[in-house]
Symmetry: C2
Subunit: 146 residues, 2 copies
Protein backbone atom coordinates (compact mmCIF):
# COMPACT_ATOMS: atom_id res chain seq x y z
CA UNK A 1 0.00 0.00 0.00
CA UNK A 2 2.74 2.49 -0.95
CA UNK A 3 1.87 6.10 -1.56
CA UNK A 4 3.63 8.64 -3.70
CA UNK A 5 3.75 12.26 -2.63
CA UNK A 6 3.07 14.39 -5.66
CA UNK A 7 3.96 18.02 -5.80
CA UNK A 8 0.96 19.80 -7.21
CA UNK A 9 1.71 21.68 -10.42
CA UNK A 10 -1.42 23.80 -10.03
CA UNK A 11 -3.65 24.90 -7.13
CA UNK A 12 -5.13 21.96 -5.30
CA UNK A 13 -8.79 21.44 -6.24
CA UNK A 14 -9.85 21.04 -2.61
CA UNK A 15 -8.66 23.06 0.37
CA UNK A 16 -9.40 22.50 4.04
CA UNK A 17 -10.88 25.54 5.77
CA UNK A 18 -9.82 26.84 9.18
CA UNK A 19 -12.50 26.44 11.84
CA UNK A 20 -12.97 30.22 12.17
CA UNK A 21 -13.82 30.41 8.45
CA UNK A 22 -16.21 27.46 8.83
CA UNK A 23 -18.19 29.46 11.42
CA UNK A 24 -18.19 32.60 9.27
CA UNK A 25 -19.57 30.61 6.34
CA UNK A 26 -22.19 28.90 8.51
CA UNK A 27 -23.29 32.23 9.94
CA UNK A 28 -23.95 33.52 6.42
CA UNK A 29 -25.88 30.50 5.18
CA UNK A 30 -29.67 30.71 5.54
CA UNK A 31 -30.34 27.00 5.05
CA UNK A 32 -28.64 23.89 6.38
CA UNK A 33 -29.39 20.19 6.48
CA UNK A 34 -29.72 18.10 9.61
CA UNK A 35 -28.77 14.43 9.26
CA UNK A 36 -30.02 12.03 11.90
CA UNK A 37 -29.29 8.36 12.41
CA UNK A 38 -31.97 6.70 14.52
CA UNK A 39 -32.70 2.99 14.83
CA UNK A 40 -30.46 2.25 11.85
CA UNK A 41 -32.18 4.70 9.52
CA UNK A 42 -30.68 7.94 8.28
CA UNK A 43 -32.82 10.96 7.60
CA UNK A 44 -32.06 14.40 6.28
CA UNK A 45 -34.07 17.55 7.03
CA UNK A 46 -33.48 20.98 5.54
CA UNK A 47 -33.83 23.65 8.24
CA UNK A 48 -33.19 27.31 8.59
CA UNK A 49 -30.88 28.00 11.46
CA UNK A 50 -28.77 30.49 13.35
CA UNK A 51 -25.24 30.37 14.68
CA UNK A 52 -24.94 31.39 18.32
CA UNK A 53 -21.67 31.15 20.28
CA UNK A 54 -20.35 28.43 17.99
CA UNK A 55 -23.48 26.34 18.32
CA UNK A 56 -26.15 25.68 15.68
CA UNK A 57 -29.68 26.61 16.67
CA UNK A 58 -32.92 25.78 14.89
CA UNK A 59 -36.65 25.57 15.58
CA UNK A 60 -39.07 22.84 14.74
CA UNK A 61 -42.54 21.64 15.65
CA UNK A 62 -43.10 19.40 18.65
CA UNK A 63 -43.72 15.75 17.98
CA UNK A 64 -42.11 15.60 14.56
CA UNK A 65 -39.94 12.85 13.15
CA UNK A 66 -37.14 15.38 13.26
CA UNK A 67 -37.42 15.84 17.01
CA UNK A 68 -37.74 12.10 17.63
CA UNK A 69 -34.67 11.25 15.64
CA UNK A 70 -32.45 14.20 16.54
CA UNK A 71 -32.83 15.06 20.16
CA UNK A 72 -30.25 13.76 22.64
CA UNK A 73 -28.39 12.08 19.82
CA UNK A 74 -25.31 12.81 17.79
CA UNK A 75 -26.28 14.46 14.55
CA UNK A 76 -24.61 15.91 11.50
CA UNK A 77 -25.38 19.35 10.20
CA UNK A 78 -24.25 20.55 6.79
CA UNK A 79 -24.39 23.86 4.96
CA UNK A 80 -22.84 24.74 1.64
CA UNK A 81 -22.71 27.39 -1.01
CA UNK A 82 -21.29 27.76 -4.48
CA UNK A 83 -20.71 30.04 -7.41
CA UNK A 84 -20.01 28.69 -10.90
CA UNK A 85 -16.28 28.41 -10.17
CA UNK A 86 -16.02 27.31 -6.55
CA UNK A 87 -18.00 25.90 -3.69
CA UNK A 88 -17.70 25.32 0.02
CA UNK A 89 -19.20 22.87 2.47
CA UNK A 90 -19.08 22.86 6.26
CA UNK A 91 -20.05 19.82 8.33
CA UNK A 92 -20.72 19.94 12.06
CA UNK A 93 -20.96 16.81 14.19
CA UNK A 94 -22.25 16.76 17.73
CA UNK A 95 -25.11 16.08 20.10
CA UNK A 96 -28.48 17.81 19.61
CA UNK A 97 -30.50 18.88 22.63
CA UNK A 98 -33.96 20.33 23.11
CA UNK A 99 -34.11 23.54 25.09
CA UNK A 100 -36.51 23.43 28.01
CA UNK A 101 -35.62 25.89 30.75
CA UNK A 102 -36.69 29.53 30.61
CA UNK A 103 -33.04 30.52 30.68
CA UNK A 104 -32.17 28.28 27.72
CA UNK A 105 -35.13 29.54 25.71
CA UNK A 106 -34.42 33.19 26.54
CA UNK A 107 -30.87 32.74 25.30
CA UNK A 108 -32.12 31.11 22.09
CA UNK A 109 -34.64 33.93 21.49
CA UNK A 110 -31.70 36.34 21.30
CA UNK A 111 -30.66 34.67 18.05
CA UNK A 112 -33.87 36.08 16.44
CA UNK A 113 -34.22 32.89 14.43
CA UNK A 114 -37.09 32.96 11.98
CA UNK A 115 -39.10 29.82 11.50
CA UNK A 116 -39.51 28.70 7.90
CA UNK A 117 -43.25 28.52 7.87
CA UNK A 118 -45.86 29.20 10.51
CA UNK A 119 -44.23 30.38 13.75
CA UNK A 120 -47.08 28.90 15.76
CA UNK A 121 -46.00 25.44 14.64
CA UNK A 122 -42.35 25.89 15.43
CA UNK A 123 -42.23 26.08 19.18
CA UNK A 124 -39.38 23.74 19.81
CA UNK A 125 -35.75 24.91 19.94
CA UNK A 126 -32.94 22.46 19.29
CA UNK A 127 -29.26 23.27 19.76
CA UNK A 128 -26.28 21.35 18.39
CA UNK A 129 -23.05 21.74 20.36
CA UNK A 130 -20.39 20.63 17.91
CA UNK A 131 -17.61 18.30 18.90
CA UNK A 132 -16.22 18.46 15.39
CA UNK A 133 -16.37 21.09 12.63
CA UNK A 134 -14.82 20.54 9.20
CA UNK A 135 -14.96 22.63 6.07
CA UNK A 136 -13.71 22.39 2.53
CA UNK A 137 -13.54 24.67 -0.44
CA UNK A 138 -13.73 23.17 -3.93
CA UNK A 139 -12.38 24.78 -7.05
CA UNK A 140 -14.24 23.64 -10.13
CA UNK A 141 -12.22 22.87 -13.23
CA UNK A 142 -15.17 23.68 -15.46
CA UNK A 143 -17.94 26.09 -14.61
CA UNK A 144 -20.92 24.11 -13.37
CA UNK A 145 -24.29 24.58 -14.99
CA UNK A 146 -26.76 26.61 -12.95
CA UNK B 1 -54.33 9.47 19.76
CA UNK B 2 -57.21 11.30 18.04
CA UNK B 3 -56.53 13.76 15.29
CA UNK B 4 -58.53 16.77 14.25
CA UNK B 5 -58.80 17.68 10.60
CA UNK B 6 -58.44 21.41 10.33
CA UNK B 7 -59.51 23.30 7.28
CA UNK B 8 -56.72 25.70 6.47
CA UNK B 9 -57.73 29.33 6.42
CA UNK B 10 -54.66 30.25 4.38
CA UNK B 11 -52.28 28.36 2.07
CA UNK B 12 -50.59 25.46 3.86
CA UNK B 13 -46.95 26.30 4.67
CA UNK B 14 -45.69 22.95 3.33
CA UNK B 15 -46.89 21.13 0.23
CA UNK B 16 -45.96 17.66 -0.97
CA UNK B 17 -44.62 17.59 -4.52
CA UNK B 18 -45.63 15.08 -7.18
CA UNK B 19 -42.81 12.72 -8.16
CA UNK B 20 -42.59 14.18 -11.70
CA UNK B 21 -41.93 17.62 -10.22
CA UNK B 22 -39.32 16.13 -7.87
CA UNK B 23 -37.37 14.86 -10.90
CA UNK B 24 -37.68 18.19 -12.70
CA UNK B 25 -36.31 20.00 -9.67
CA UNK B 26 -33.48 17.48 -9.23
CA UNK B 27 -32.55 17.80 -12.91
CA UNK B 28 -32.15 21.56 -12.49
CA UNK B 29 -30.05 21.41 -9.31
CA UNK B 30 -26.29 21.45 -9.84
CA UNK B 31 -25.37 20.28 -6.34
CA UNK B 32 -26.78 17.56 -4.11
CA UNK B 33 -25.77 15.85 -0.90
CA UNK B 34 -25.17 12.15 -0.48
CA UNK B 35 -25.87 10.73 3.00
CA UNK B 36 -24.33 7.39 3.88
CA UNK B 37 -24.79 5.22 6.94
CA UNK B 38 -21.90 2.79 7.33
CA UNK B 39 -20.92 0.89 10.45
CA UNK B 40 -23.23 3.04 12.55
CA UNK B 41 -21.77 6.34 11.36
CA UNK B 42 -23.56 8.81 9.12
CA UNK B 43 -21.65 10.92 6.66
CA UNK B 44 -22.71 13.62 4.23
CA UNK B 45 -20.91 14.50 1.01
CA UNK B 46 -21.81 17.34 -1.34
CA UNK B 47 -21.51 16.16 -4.95
CA UNK B 48 -22.41 17.47 -8.35
CA UNK B 49 -24.63 15.06 -10.18
CA UNK B 50 -26.83 14.37 -13.15
CA UNK B 51 -30.29 12.88 -13.49
CA UNK B 52 -30.50 10.08 -16.06
CA UNK B 53 -33.66 8.01 -16.60
CA UNK B 54 -34.86 8.72 -13.08
CA UNK B 55 -31.58 7.70 -11.50
CA UNK B 56 -29.00 9.94 -9.82
CA UNK B 57 -25.49 9.72 -11.25
CA UNK B 58 -22.30 11.15 -9.85
CA UNK B 59 -18.54 10.70 -10.12
CA UNK B 60 -15.97 10.40 -7.43
CA UNK B 61 -12.39 9.29 -6.93
CA UNK B 62 -11.56 5.64 -6.32
CA UNK B 63 -10.67 4.64 -2.80
CA UNK B 64 -12.43 7.48 -1.04
CA UNK B 65 -14.45 7.35 2.15
CA UNK B 66 -17.44 8.20 -0.02
CA UNK B 67 -17.02 5.09 -2.15
CA UNK B 68 -16.41 2.86 0.86
CA UNK B 69 -19.49 4.04 2.66
CA UNK B 70 -21.87 4.41 -0.28
CA UNK B 71 -21.40 1.62 -2.73
CA UNK B 72 -23.77 -1.35 -2.59
CA UNK B 73 -25.64 0.26 0.27
CA UNK B 74 -28.84 2.18 0.69
CA UNK B 75 -28.12 5.87 0.66
CA UNK B 76 -30.02 9.13 0.83
CA UNK B 77 -29.55 11.89 -1.66
CA UNK B 78 -30.90 15.38 -1.13
CA UNK B 79 -31.08 18.52 -3.25
CA UNK B 80 -32.83 21.76 -2.45
CA UNK B 81 -33.26 25.31 -3.59
CA UNK B 82 -34.87 28.44 -2.29
CA UNK B 83 -35.73 32.03 -2.94
CA UNK B 84 -36.48 34.50 -0.14
CA UNK B 85 -40.14 33.45 -0.06
CA UNK B 86 -40.17 29.72 -0.70
CA UNK B 87 -37.96 26.69 -0.84
CA UNK B 88 -38.05 23.09 -2.00
CA UNK B 89 -36.28 19.91 -0.99
CA UNK B 90 -36.24 16.53 -2.72
CA UNK B 91 -34.97 13.39 -1.01
CA UNK B 92 -34.15 10.18 -2.84
CA UNK B 93 -33.61 6.89 -1.03
CA UNK B 94 -32.17 3.79 -2.67
CA UNK B 95 -29.16 1.59 -3.25
CA UNK B 96 -25.97 3.05 -4.71
CA UNK B 97 -23.90 1.00 -7.14
CA UNK B 98 -20.52 1.47 -8.79
CA UNK B 99 -20.52 1.17 -12.55
CA UNK B 100 -17.99 -1.31 -13.90
CA UNK B 101 -18.92 -2.70 -17.31
CA UNK B 102 -18.13 -0.84 -20.51
CA UNK B 103 -21.83 -0.70 -21.29
CA UNK B 104 -22.67 0.84 -17.90
CA UNK B 105 -19.88 3.40 -18.22
CA UNK B 106 -20.81 4.28 -21.82
CA UNK B 107 -24.39 4.93 -20.70
CA UNK B 108 -23.16 7.12 -17.84
CA UNK B 109 -20.87 9.11 -20.16
CA UNK B 110 -23.96 10.17 -22.10
CA UNK B 111 -25.03 12.21 -19.09
CA UNK B 112 -22.01 14.50 -19.74
CA UNK B 113 -21.52 14.87 -16.02
CA UNK B 114 -18.76 17.28 -15.09
CA UNK B 115 -16.55 16.41 -12.16
CA UNK B 116 -16.22 19.12 -9.54
CA UNK B 117 -12.49 19.34 -9.51
CA UNK B 118 -9.82 17.47 -11.44
CA UNK B 119 -11.39 15.01 -13.90
CA UNK B 120 -8.35 12.74 -13.61
CA UNK B 121 -9.23 12.10 -9.97
CA UNK B 122 -12.89 11.38 -10.60
CA UNK B 123 -12.84 8.13 -12.47
CA UNK B 124 -15.52 6.31 -10.56
CA UNK B 125 -19.20 6.48 -11.49
CA UNK B 126 -21.86 5.74 -8.90
CA UNK B 127 -25.56 5.44 -9.69
CA UNK B 128 -28.45 5.58 -7.23
CA UNK B 129 -31.62 3.77 -8.34
CA UNK B 130 -34.30 5.27 -6.11
CA UNK B 131 -36.85 3.13 -4.36
CA UNK B 132 -38.40 6.24 -2.85
CA UNK B 133 -38.55 9.88 -3.94
CA UNK B 134 -40.19 12.56 -1.82
CA UNK B 135 -40.35 16.30 -2.26
CA UNK B 136 -41.72 19.26 -0.38
CA UNK B 137 -42.18 22.92 -1.04
CA UNK B 138 -42.03 25.35 1.88
CA UNK B 139 -43.62 28.75 1.92
CA UNK B 140 -41.83 31.12 4.25
CA UNK B 141 -43.91 33.37 6.42
CA UNK B 142 -41.13 35.93 6.60
CA UNK B 143 -38.49 36.47 3.96
CA UNK B 144 -35.33 34.68 5.01
CA UNK B 145 -32.06 36.57 5.16
CA UNK B 146 -29.67 35.82 2.29
Amino acid sequence: MGSITRMPSEPQPVSILPVSECWELLAGAPIGRLVTNFEGESNIFPVNFAVQNRTVLFRTAEGTKLVASAVSREVLFEADGYSDREGWSVIVRGPARSLHTNEEIAEAEEAALLPWTNPDDKSHYVRIRPVNVTGRRFFFRDAIAR
